[in-house]
């Protein structure tokens, strides 16, 4: 892998789900690039398509229900969408690590966690059972579990949520994948545990040189952990940029509205709610996806805006940026 090649390259991806009333588009023309060593965040509410994208990168969506309308996904140079089941199985673990939201159910309830870890290790590296067990203990240490020996013999139901999530992280990282996808990994955890897990992910990513795709509805968490942020709404990418740019200089009305609607721990500012509800994917709008709820909408918005480049690596899909940008780029 040359130093310039991105770890993840999603190009113009569009996905639909089969339903009783026909295919429903859940993702439209989303493009993402993640460079080696980057920590990138996906932010959105329900229906935004953030989880769907993350799962599709690892091809974890039920194959008989998902339709790829367009686009490609490449992880570390491997084409994900055209990989067959065996190739995909090889990719998962060795190139793509996945952390789920519910740690308790992500682990097999009938095996001790050390055994699960050793199994995963042997899947991706040729080594003896003893060696795999040794490495499993090492990995448990790496995720800051003290008395790894004792924990390795426990079953998931005997461990706390935070502990289980550490094990899941260990499982995801044991083969040093190029990309770690974390789908709302701390949503089900207490706030103090969350802080620990976020620090852990940050440290591990740095140690292994792994890039991270962090999916969350929590803009605050994403802003603390991620260098770059992609904001999704209604199945489309509405803004992307460095987390500093997104927080301090948002250029899409949805991002601005989201920031204004978040209660802040440090002071009582007036909460500006966003009127209405997130869009129903069954009614795909022709124009801008945020139009029904946008306080700054104008006539132009009836047509779907392209992604305008505000600066390098900061784009927003909003007509308000048309004059400011050099010209539309579908970045």
């Amino acid at each position: 892998m040359t130093p310039e090649a991105p770890v993840l390259s999603v190009d113009n991806l569009s996905l639909s789900f089969r339903s009783r009333t026909g295919p429903v588009a859940v993702l439209r023309n989303v493009s993402i690039d993640i460079q080696p060593g980057e920590i990138v965040g996906f932010v959105g509410e329900s229906g935004s398509g953030k989880s769907v994208t993350a799962l599709q990168i690892a091809r974890l969506l039920p194959e008989d229900q998902v339709l790829v309308d367009s686009g490609s996904i490449k992880v570390a140079g491997h084409d994900v969408l055209s990989a067959n089941a065996r190739e995909m199985n090889d990719l998962r673990g060795s190139q793509i690590g996945f952390i789920f939201q519910e740690p308790m159910t992500a682990l097999s309830p009938t095996m001790a966690v050390g055994t699960q870890l050793a199994l995963a290790i042997r899947r991706h590296a040729r080594c003896s059972r003893k060696e795999a067990q040794r490495r499993a203990l090492e990995t448990l240490n790496e995720v800051r579990i003290e008395s790894a020996d004792h924990v390795a013999r426990q079953y998931p139901f005997q461990l706390s949520g935070g502990m289980c999530q550490r094990v899941v992280i260990a499982l995801a990282m044991c083969a040093s994948p190029a990309l770690l996808i974390a789908d709302e990994p701390t949503t089900a955890l207490d706030v103090t545990i969350q802080a620990d897990i976020l620090n852990l992910i940050r440290a591990l990513a740095a140690d292994h040189g792994t890039s991270v795709l962090f999916v969350s509805h929590d803009l605050a968490v994403v802003s603390e952990l991620c260098q770059r942020v992609f904001v999704l709404y209604g199945g489309e990418m509405v803004e992307q940029g460095s987390s500093h740019d997104i927080l301090n200089g948002p250029r899409h009305p949805y991002t601005k509205a989201l920031l204004a609607a978040l209660p802040h721990i440090s002071g009582t500012k007036e909460l500006q709610p966003i009127p209405g509800e997130p869009p129903d994917p069954r009614q795909a709008p022709a124009g801008c996806v945020f139009l029904p709820r946008c306080p700054e909408a104008f006539a132009r918005c009836e047509a779907k805006p392209p992604s305008f480049a505000i600066q390098s690596a900061h784009t927003a899909a909003c007509w308000l940026n048309e004059q400011i940008a050099e010209g539309p780029t579908d970045a």
Partner: protein, 288 residues
């Protein structure tokens, strides 16, 4: 992961005539069932002869123009007896299943909601009944009560009640945990209201699914008891009883037991397939 457009709690699918008709197998089964019900109701109109009109001159006559399916050992028209027999088989089974379902549902709900001694008393009694093989128990009960149709139905109902009781019990236990039940308690509404308005309506659909699955089985049970002489007594045109006398004539007058058996087969099959179709639509674990 939230699948788009699907609420995180699966909305109860609506069971409409249209939804039943989409599946060709279910649609066929439904048509046959409707036909059977019509025949049962209209038997006096549709049947060419009475069910008990004896005609000794025409005993064991083969299929002909005047007797489409032949006659039995005392000259009664088999077709007419089959048609009248629908009333017994289908009618009695519907009544039996309905009774078993209602009684079982009430028992199971009381046991599941109030718990403790009600639970122990009711569910252990249910366990006792369930520990007997159902057919043997039905036979024993029917024999003990005396051989007639009503007692046979009663025996079958008793045998079937535990299924509904257990189903209602399990569903009540899980519904009781729902937040809206806890909310109702904070309003100060009484237990009777909670059971009536919250528990029963929410367990209804799984009970209904079970009844549609059971109808076919109960028809078979009635026929079995009839065959053994424990159900309807002659001259009642009950299919099982007809086979009981009919199978002696299997070699020479094959039409007699064969068509009767076919009637049972067709009826049970249709109800079973219909039940499967209903279950597929109302299955709480179904995904969009």
């Amino acid at each position: 992961m939230r699948m788009p457009g699907v609420s995180t709690r699966v909305a109860k699918a609506t069971l409409t005539l249209r939804s039943l008709l989409t599946n060709p197998v279910t649609a066929t089964a439904l048509s046959v069932v409707i036909l059977l019900l019509l025949v049962g109701v209209l038997a006096p109109v549709v049947a060419p002869y009475g069910a008990t009109s004896v005609d000794l001159a025409n005993r064991l006559a083969p299929m002909s123009g005047s007797h489409l399916l032949g006659t039995d050992e005392v000259g009664r028209d088999i077709l007419s007896r089959l048609l009248y027999g629908v009333r017994i088989s289908v009618g009695v089974s519907i009544a039996t299943v309905a009774c078993a379902a209602v009684i079982g549902m009430l028992l199971g709900t009381v046991a599941g909601y109030f718990g403790r001694w009600a639970d122990t008393l009711i569910m252990r009694a249910i366990d006792v009944v369930l520990s007997f093989p159902s057919l043997i128990l039905a036979i024993a009960l029917a024999a003990a009560l005396g051989p007639n149709l009503l007692n046979a139905a009663l025996a079958i109902a008793i045998v079937k009640i535990p299924i509904y009781a257990r189903l209602a019990y399990a569903e009540t236990l899980s519904t009781r945990q729902q937040l809206y039940v806890r909310a109702a308690k904070t309003f100060g509404v009484g237990n009777a209201f909670i059971v009536r308005r919250h528990i029963l309506p929410n367990i209804r659909s799984s009970i209904i699914v079970q009844t549609t699955l059971d109808l076919g089985d109960v028809i078979l049970l009635i026929s079995t008891l009839g065959f053994l002489g424990l159900g309807a007594q002659p001259p009642t045109p009950e299919w099982g009883a007809m086979i009981s006398t009919g199978w002696h004539y299997l070699i020479d007058q094959w039409w007699y037991p064969t068509f009767t058996g076919a009637a049972i087969f067709l009826t049970v099959m249709s109800f079973n397939l219909l039940g499967d179709g209903v279950r597929d639509l109302l299955d709480p674990t179904g995904r969009d």
